[in-house]
Each structure stands twice: as structure tokens, then as C-alpha cells.
């Protein structure tokens, strides 16, 4: 035990010295030919004291001296966990649902806005889950389908005045077609080769969106996208319908919620069907899957198409919400973020991915107060999360199929 602490302290000390060595050239060497240490040491001491406190807490915690505090917390969380597990699933599902429905009423505008982002990214993340989590194809260009969906609605709406409900399936369809176009040439590739090709496709889509002036209005984006209109029956003057424009953020939240729930249900169902099994088999061993009668070509294409459709739907909703689309929303970094959400969530568990989405959307918002330090802290958080939970927030659980029977 003591030896272990020694080792940890030694590592900590080395890390801190390393950091000092890194900081000094950046802060202490000046273009006028002078050398200073004060600034470096100050910054370093700040970092040192900050990390030292965290480190002490960590050490005390791992030696069990914080039990008086953590134990009750852990116990309650475990009890809660057990309770949840013992409860029939419909109970906690409905609790969650009620919570989700009441959420915008209980909170303000800004939390609702963040929640809408979370919901849209759940659709995106689950779409990517079908491609990357189930079929195991590393996709670094998923945001392109989101973009295609968003632009489909924006263009059809602004140019031709077609309403949301007609465009919504069309957005899914065009994203699906885009998915097949991306999917087809990539089917021969594996692993990182696939990743770079999907990255390429994602960038190509973005560049086209940014440059095809006559269609997409280029970098200016498309303005004046109409929001969702729903027909509402009106009783005055006899029975008729009037179009009700969904403008309030809360209403939008419900649309996003419905879409997210439908996506969750759809992906869950696909997951536990023969299609899901076939995709998983492809992920585990493509050659063996082909030799066990799975048409890998078809199913990989299908995975792309399905993943794209969910992204396309989310895109259409995004366009309707922002009332404006521009290529800045569909950059490579955004694709990487979606992939990060899936990986952080545990790659192959749907609740995990939802948690991953929440973490990566909410954290930058939490860090908003840090202004310029925001992304620095965010990057650090990502590393720490991965180091502590390398297999994702929630590991996938295999469905026990035999228990049901007995």
C-alpha cells in the first residue's frame, strides 16, 4: 500500500515537473532576448495547487478515508440502482417520460434550449450508433447526413414553400440516398481507411454546401426557413382548420422529444432483431459473418442508410428550429463530437449513448463561465473521463434471452 502511494506520488511529481518544463519555454522566453521565471512559476503554482487538491482528495478517497461522505452517497445510488433494476421497466420509463415532459415547464428558456440540442444529438448519436456501434464502421462524417437533412428542408421550404410535414420524410429520404452514396464505395474498406473516407465525404458535403451558391446560397446560409406548422381545428364560424406555427421553444422541445423517443424505440427494435444481430456479427468478424450467410454488402449499406435517415430527420428539425441553416453547423469537428458522444457512452449501449450526448452537450455549456478557458477545460475533461471510464459511461449489457423462458 505504502509502496503504491510512493509510486503515485512519484508519478505526480514527475508529471508536474514535466509540465513545468513545458510551460517555461512558452511563458518564460521573450523575444527581446530576456528570460523570466516569475510568470511561469505563478501559472505553474496555480496548476500545482489546483491539481494537488484534486490529487489529495483522490488519495484520501482511494484510501477510504472519505467513506463518511462517499459511502452514504454510493449506498443511496446503489440502492436506487437496485430499486430501478427491481422495478418493472415501465415504472422508471414513465417516471423518466413524465420528467422529460415537465422539464421545460420547470426550467427556463436556456435549459430548454440546451435540452433541444441534447435531443437532436440523441437522434444523431443513435444514428451513428447503428453505423459505428452496431456495424462497427468508424464514421467520421456523420454530420454530413444531418446537413443534408437540414438543407433539404431549408431549400424545399424557402424555394418552393413546401411545408415541414412534406419535407420531413423527404429530408430522411435525401439523407438516406446520401448514406447509400457514401456507403457504396466504402464497403470494401475497413477500420481507419473507412474512417478517412467518411471524413472525406463529410468534408465534401460541407464544401459543396459552402460553395454551390445557386442551390445553397453558400456561406450566407439559407434564411427564413419556416418553423413547423400544425393544423389546428378551429370551432368558431363552423369547423375549420388553421395553421398554428410552432414558435415557442417549449413546443419545439416536445417535437424534439417525440422524435428522440421514436428514434430510441426504432433503434432499440432494430438492435434486437435479426438485422441488429447481422450488423453485430459484421462488427465482430465480417468474413465469418459473410460465411455464416449474412449478406454483408447489403447490411453495411443498410446500416449507412438507417443511420443517415435518423440524422436526416434530426437535421430537418434543426433547420426548422434555427430558421436558418449555414455550413458552419456541419463541420468535421461536429462529426467528431458526435462520434465522441457514442464512444463516451460506451459504443454499444443505447442508454450510454444518451448519457454521452448529455455529457458532451451540457459540459461546454457548464463551462461557458470560463470564457476562453472553456475548451481547455473541456478537452481536459474528455481525457479524464476516458482515463477513468475507458469503456464508456455505461457498458453494454447483453440481453439475457434464456431467463424469459424459464
Amino acid at each position: 500500500m505504502i509502496q503504491e502511494f510512493k509510486k503515485i506520488w512519484k508519478q505526480y511529481a514527475i508529471t508536474m515537473l514535466w509540465l513545468l518544463g513545458l510551460l517555461w519555454p512558452l511563458l518564460g522566453i521573450h523575444p527581446d532576448g530576456t528570460i523570466s521565471f516569475k510568470q511561469t512559476i505563478t501559472v505553474w503554482l496555480y496548476i500545482l495547487s489546483g491539481t494537488f487538491i484534486c490529487f489529495i482528495i483522490y488519495i484520501i478517497n482511494s484510501s477510504g478515508n472519505l467513506k463518511f461522505f462517499t459511502e452514504p452517497v454510493v449506498n443511496t445510488s446503489e440502492k436506487l440502482n437496485n430499486m430501478v433494476q427491481n422495478m418493472p421497466s415501465w415504472i422508471w420509463k414513465s417516471v423518466l417520460l413524465i420528467g422529460a415532459v415537465l422539464y421545460p415547464l420547470l426550467t427556463g428558456r436556456y435549459p430548454t434550449d440546451v435540452a433541444i440540442n441534447v435531443l437532436l444529438y440523441i437522434c444523431l448519436g443513435l444514428g451513428l450508433y447503428v453505423v459505428a456501434g452496431l456495424a462497427g464502421m468508424l464514421d467520421l462524417g456523420h454530420i454530413a447526413f444531418y446537413g443534408v437533412g437540414a438543407y433539404t428542408y431549408a431549400i424545399l421550404n424557402v424555394r418552393y414553400g413546401i411545408g415541414f410535414w412534406v419535407c420531413f420524410p423527404l429530408a430522411g429520404l435525401s439523407a438516406c440516398i446520401a448514406g447509400c452514396i457514401v456507403g457504396y464505395p466504402t464497403l470494401r474498406m475497413r477500420g481507419d481507411y473507412l474512417a478517412i473516407v467518411t471524413l472525406g465525404f463529410g468534408e465534401i458535403v460541407r464544401i459543396i454546401l459552402n460553395n454551390w451558391m445557386s442551390l445553397t446560397n453558400g456561406p450566407n446560409g439559407i434564411l427564413g426557413v419556416k418553423t413547423i406548422g400544425i393544423l389546428r381545428p378551429v370551432m368558431e364560424n363552423g369547423f375549420s382548420f388553421e395553421i398554428f406555427w410552432v414558435k415557442k421553444l417549449e413546443y419545439f422541445y416536445y417535437f424534439a422529444l417525440v422524435l428522440a423517443i421514436l428514434t430510441i424505440i426504432a433503434v432499440t427494435r432494430i438492435n434486437f432483431s435479426r438485422i441488429g444481430r447481422a450488423l453485430e456479427a459484421i462488427r465482430e468478424d465480417e468474413t465469418a459473418a459473410e460465411l455464416m450467410g449474412v449478406n454483408t454488402f447489403y447490411y453495411k449499406l443498410l446500416a449507412y442508410a438507417m443511420g443517415a435517415v435518423f440524422a436526416g430527420f434530426a437535421g430537418a428539425l434543426f433547420a426548422a428550429r434555427m430558421k436558418f441553416v449555414s455550413p458552419e453547423s456541419f463541420t468535421f469537428l461536429e462529426s467528431v463530437m458526435v462520434l465522441s458522444m457514442v464512444v463516451l457512452g460506451g459504443m454499444s449501449s443505447i442508454p450510454g449513448i444518451i448519457l454521452g450526448v448529455i455529457a458532451l452537450i451540457v459540459l461546454p455549456e457548464v463551462f461557458r463561465e470560463l470564457e476562453s478557458y472553456r475548451m481547455l477545460v473541456f478537452g481536459l475533461t474528455m481525457i479524464i473521463m476516458m482515463l477513468f471510464r475507458p469503456s464508456g459511461l455505461i457498458a453494454a449489457k447483453r440481453k439475457k434471452m434464456m431467463e424469459k423462458k424459464s
Binding site: 432494430i270 438485422i275 453485430e280 468478424d285 459473410e290 460465411l291 434471452m401
Partner: protein, 257 residues
């Protein structure tokens, strides 16, 4: 009667001949052994039979029909199933799921079925599960149904692989070194299983180095070396064939076994 037949198969990789002018057939109802030194082309034969490689020359027929150029999954659904030399299970899936994957070609419900969970889709899932469980039971690994494949003991993984191949009720089963890494008592257990598989009316092609297994279970044996068939005949004939002894068995082994 020839059930699955190789006719004058030549496979070339670059300039190297992996197989040349090789012909033999698996007849209905038999267990055919395939032996030969490492690198003789046994696995290549498997790959040709299952459509992984397209032979440079020659033809492969199954039930009288050419299956040349067919995709591996098509050949599988026609009824040619196989196992692998190095176990290739879907390692993060449970044993049952592994076996259910093989039933893929015996089912056809698509995306809409899955999304809507129609009654016919549910019935199909139940049917797939039933067949898969049956196969697991047959190979004696039913107790592992909910265990993730990679956590299974080695011998059971081998068995699961055979169960997976059997689930779809193939007509021909190709086994690639199923006894590799098994101890003698495990291999004798395996011999019984192979016999039982044969009793179900499935033809078996067996590649194996363990001569006890090969000699004990096969009706007929083909010996290949450097992609050329050097002998074919009953176990007795093969054991005494000087060419086979020279190329493969070696003198002391021939005496010993």
C-alpha cells in the same frame, strides 16, 4: 453420388500455385477426411468451396449445379456450412446470438418488420431462437446460451462454432481442424459428435492433423501436398500409402498410431 465436387481446381496467388488441377468429391452420406502437411492447401480448398476465393481455373458444383462465383453467403444458404481453423466466433455476442446469426439466411423479415414488431416478425424471431437452441443442445453447449462467446472455455468455443454451423441445417459441413488444441479425451468426444452429425444426414469434410480422429471417423481420406492430390482412399489404404507416409505421416508416426 457426388454431393459437393471440386473439378480441376487451380488457384494461383500471384505466380504461386496454391492448388493445381485438384479434383475430388464429397459423396452423399460420407465423412471425408482431408489431410496433408501445413501449407498443402487444405484451407485454400475450404475457401474455394465456400466462395471466399474464386479459383483461377476449374469448377465447383453442389448438388449438380455450379456454385462458382457465388457469394459466400449464397453458398452458405444453399447448405454448405463451415467452421474455422482459428476460432472465429462473434466474440462479444452470446452463444445463443452467435447461433441465431447463422439462421439469418433462413429468415427474411426486414427493417419495417423490426420497426413495427409485427406478429409475423415475432413468430420468426421465435422460430430462429428455437432452431438455435436446438443446435446448441445438439452440441451440448446449451448451458452457455447466455454466455458471451469469448468467455466460453476453449473446447466449448469449438463446439459452439459447430453448433453455429449446424443451426441453419446445412447439407454439407466443412470442419477445419476441430480437434486442434483438444486433449485426447476431448477429441474422442468430438469423434462421437462428428458421427452424430453424419447420422443427421449431413455430409462432413474434415481437415485434421490428429490422425486418431481422422482414421477413427472418416469413411474416406484425401491427402494433398503442395496443392496436388497425392492419394485418395480408405483410411487403411492411406495409412499404408508410401507417398502419404513420406510426405505427411512420417515413419515413426505410421508405426505408432
Amino acid at each position: 453420388m457426388a454431393h459437393l465436387e471440386l473439378k480441376n481446381i487451380t488457384v494461383r496467388f500471384g505466380g504461386l500455385y496454391a492448388l493445381s488441377e485438384l479434383s475430388f468429391a464429397i459423396h452423399t452420406g460420407e465423412i471425408l477426411g482431408l489431410i496433408g502437411p501445413n501449407g498443402a492447401g487444405k484451407t485454400t480448398i475450404f475457401n474455394v468451396l465456400t466462395g471466399v476465393y474464386k479459383p483461377t481455373e476449374g469448377d465447383v458444383t453442389f448438388e449438380g449445379e455450379s456454385i462458382l462465383g457465388k457469394k459466400p453467403h449464397e453458398i452458405f444458404s444453399r447448405g454448405v456450412a463451415r467452421t474455422f481453423q482459428n476460432i472465429r466466433l462473434f466474440s462479444k455476442m452470446t452463444a445463443l446470438e452467435n447461433t441465431m446469426v447463422a439462421m439469418h439466411c433462413r429468415s427474411n423479415k426486414g427493417v419495417m418488420g423490426a420497426l413495427l414488431r409485427t406478429n409475423s416478425q415475432k413468430a420468426e424471431e421465435a422460430f430462429i431462437k428455437e432452431k438455435a437452441l436446438e443446435a446448441l443442445k445438439f452440441m451440448g453447449v446449451i448451458q452457455f446460451a447466455d454466455t458471451v462467446a469469448s468467455n466460453l472455455p476453449y473446447g466449448s468455443q469449438r463446439r459452439l462454432e459447430i453448433a453455429r454451423a449446424l443451426a441453419s441445417e446445412p447439407k454439407v459441413l466443412l470442419l477445419d481442424e476441430p480437434a486442434a488444441g483438444m486433449n485426447p479425451s476431448e477429441s474422442s468426444e468430438l469423434m462421437k459428435d462428428i458421427a452424430r452429425i453424419s447420422e443427421r444426414g449431413i455430409d462432413v469434410l474434415l481437415v485434421e492433423h490428429d490422425m486418431k480422429v481422422v482414421m477413427g471417423v472418416c469413411n474416406r481420406i484425401v491427402c494433398v501436398e503442395h496443392g496436388i492430390k497425392i492419394a485418395e482412399g480408405s483410411p487403411q489404404e492411406i495409412q499404408n500409402n508410401p507417398k502419404v507416409i513420406e510426405a505427411y505421416l512420417g515413419q515413426p508416426a505410421a508405426k505408432h498410431d
